[in-house]
């Protein structure tokens, strides 16, 4: 019982990371109609931008988080304007392959700038809180913060999407692109906001991953598969679905370690994704796929 609770916590932490990535993937798919393969490397870059703020300015990882989010939002918009905007009117598959290329470019740049070895935000071991009432359940403060901040960001995204004109325009474009154009919704501006949110949340995912584990140039790339799985599970193009999908995938991946080797965690995400695509390709919340 205790083990299960403990693993549930790890699952929620991983789920938070995946949700942050999957919201962006889902929004980008909904509005730009392509699977953004560089999203994992957006996460990595966000984590390394955070590392620079920690190193240069001596910020704690939690204060480096907003800086990394802003930095990554800017990078995402620049990449969109330099690359994706020019091929907006081509077929989705061209955008998809271009984003794959962008993923490779970003990863190489990260290796050039920050090196290819493992790095950490803070050295030393963080002592977990021990909850004796729950049979000695141990909770790391970092984990609590990761889950809480994720919840806060999700609430922020929710408020943005439901309360602001731009947020509603994003949902409208995701719902029906042609009608959005006919209504006079400025597509390019909506697209830029989409990249700002997607980039910022990817950075959050990367920084969380860095806090929870370590930094490595392929940290995001290896997380991309479960992020896609989460987005598909929730119904691609549906940011709320991405949150649910992220939690389900994260918890399933961690729970699987009770039965099989931890090395198979990505396989669990892959298996869920394949099952979903076979039996309910539209996802839990009817997506736009």
């Amino acid at each position: 019982m205790n083990d299960i609770l403990q693993i549930l916590i790890y699952g929620m932490v991983l789920g938070s990371v995946l949700s942050m990535g999957a919201i962006g993937v889902s929004m980008i798919f909904g509005i730009l109609r392509f699977a953004h393969f560089a999203h994992g490397d957006f996460m990595t870059l966000g984590a390394y931008i955070g590392l620079t703020f920690i190193g240069v300015m001596g910020l704690s990882p939690w204060f480096a988080l907003p800086a990394a989010m802003v930095g990554m939002a800017v990078v995402a918009v620049v990449i969109d304007q330099l690359l994706y905007r020019r091929i907006r009117r081509t077929q989705p598959v061209i955008l998809l392959i271009s984003s794959f290329g962008m993923a490779l470019i970003l990863r190489s740049l990260i290796q050039l700038i920050w090196g290819s070895e493992n790095q950490t935000y803070a050295s030393g071991i963080q002592f977990p809180w021990r909850l004796d009432v729950l049979g000695g359940l141990r909770i790391k403060p970092d984990h609590v913060w990761i889950v809480l901040i994720s919840l806060g960001l999700v609430a922020g995204v929710h408020l943005f999407l439901t309360r602001t004109r731009m947020g509603k325009a994003m949902r409208a474009m995701s719902d029906n692109m042609d009608l959005a154009l006919v209504s006079g919704i400025p597509a390019e501006r909506v697209i830029i906001v989409t990249w700002i949110i997607g980039g910022a949340l990817a950075a959050a995912a990367g920084v969380f991953l860095g806090i929870d584990t370590r930094l490595h140039p392929v940290m995001g790339w290896t997380t991309l598969l479960p992020v896609f799985a989460a987005a598909i599970l929730g119904g691609i193009g549906r940011p709320y679905g991405a949150i649910v999908g992220g939690m389900i995938i994260g918890i399933s991946m961690e729970m699987s370690t009770l039965f099989i080797s931890a090395a198979y965690k990505p396989a669990v995400a892959f298996a869920i994704m394949v099952m979903m695509l076979i039996f309910r390709p539209q996802g839990i919340f009817k997506g736009t796929l």
Binding site: A169, R171, D175, D178, G184, I185
Partner: protein
């Protein structure tokens, strides 16, 4: 421009299509602010294409589209909306996951200032929508969705409302009701240009009608005259 009754829209000798062969081969359409203008014609005549060409969604290769005397040929939809032209596509004309109210807000996206008064005007016209303002448009019936679609278009206080088959897929009772609404909208001084399959009923409320065939004007007359024309009746109205 010399006219006492203002010519809102004047599409002159339009050729164009989706990039391949022209679908429109010399289409001429005019609409005034006090008119309901109906376009009828057989399938594939280019009725919907003509609407899209006027609204800038299909490329006009040669010919001119004038709105209030100004050239708007191939302008962007955003420009069309700003000038006071609203267009309701035939299908998928609502944002399904957005509520009725949000659909209306999106219709008024380009409008500056408070949207509330405009919204109330739409709710006055379609009281059914007021009751369901918090419901996602995707969960509504076909008839209600059509009201949402028209309501969204009306949010910009258009001078000209373009409707592509507003009664497609509706029950006879709802068809009557939709035509009633269109008359009401027109009575507020909004010009209406619409494509209709229910040609008889549509021509009955039309100030003028056009019969299109293979992308060009075949007949043009008042609604009643077109209805009475035996050739038109035989060709396009199913006898």
């Amino acid at each position: 421009m010399s006219s006492s009754t203002t010519t809102l829209l004047d599409a002159q000798d339009i050729y164009g299509g989706y990039g391949g062969a022209d679908i429109l081969k010399g289409t001429n359409l005019r609409a005034n602010a006090d008119e309901i203008v109906v376009i009828v014609g057989p399938n594939g005549a280019g009725k919907s294409t003509a609407m899209k060409a006027i609204f800038g969604l299909v490329k006009v290769r040669t010919g001119k589209v004038l709105f209030q005397g100004e050239d708007i040929t191939n302008a962007k939809p955003e420009q069309m909306v700003r000038r006071g032209i609203a267009y309701v596509p035939q299908e998928q004309n609502v944002f399904p996951s957005l509520t009725v109210q949000e659909n209306l807000e999106m219709g008024g996206y380009l409008m500056t200032g408070d949207l509330k008064p405009r919204m109330e005007k739409v709710y006055d016209l379609f009281p059914k929508l007021a009751e369901r303002r918090r419901q996602p448009a995707g969960l509504m019936s076909g008839g209600e969705r059509q009201l949402v679609a028209m309501g969204r278009a009306l949010m910009v206080d258009p001078k000209l409302l373009m409707l592509d088959e507003p009664t497609a897929g509706l029950s006879p009772k709802l068809i009557d009701e939709t035509f009633e609404r269109i008359k009401q909208i027109n009575a507020q001084g909004i010009g209406v240009l619409m494509v209709e399959q229910n040609a008889k009923q549509a021509l009955a409320i039309a100030s003028r009608g056009y019969v299109l065939a293979t992308g060009a004007n075949r007949h043009e007359d008042t609604g009643p005259n077109l209805l009475a024309d035996p050739e038109v009746a035989e060709m396009f109205l199913g006898g």
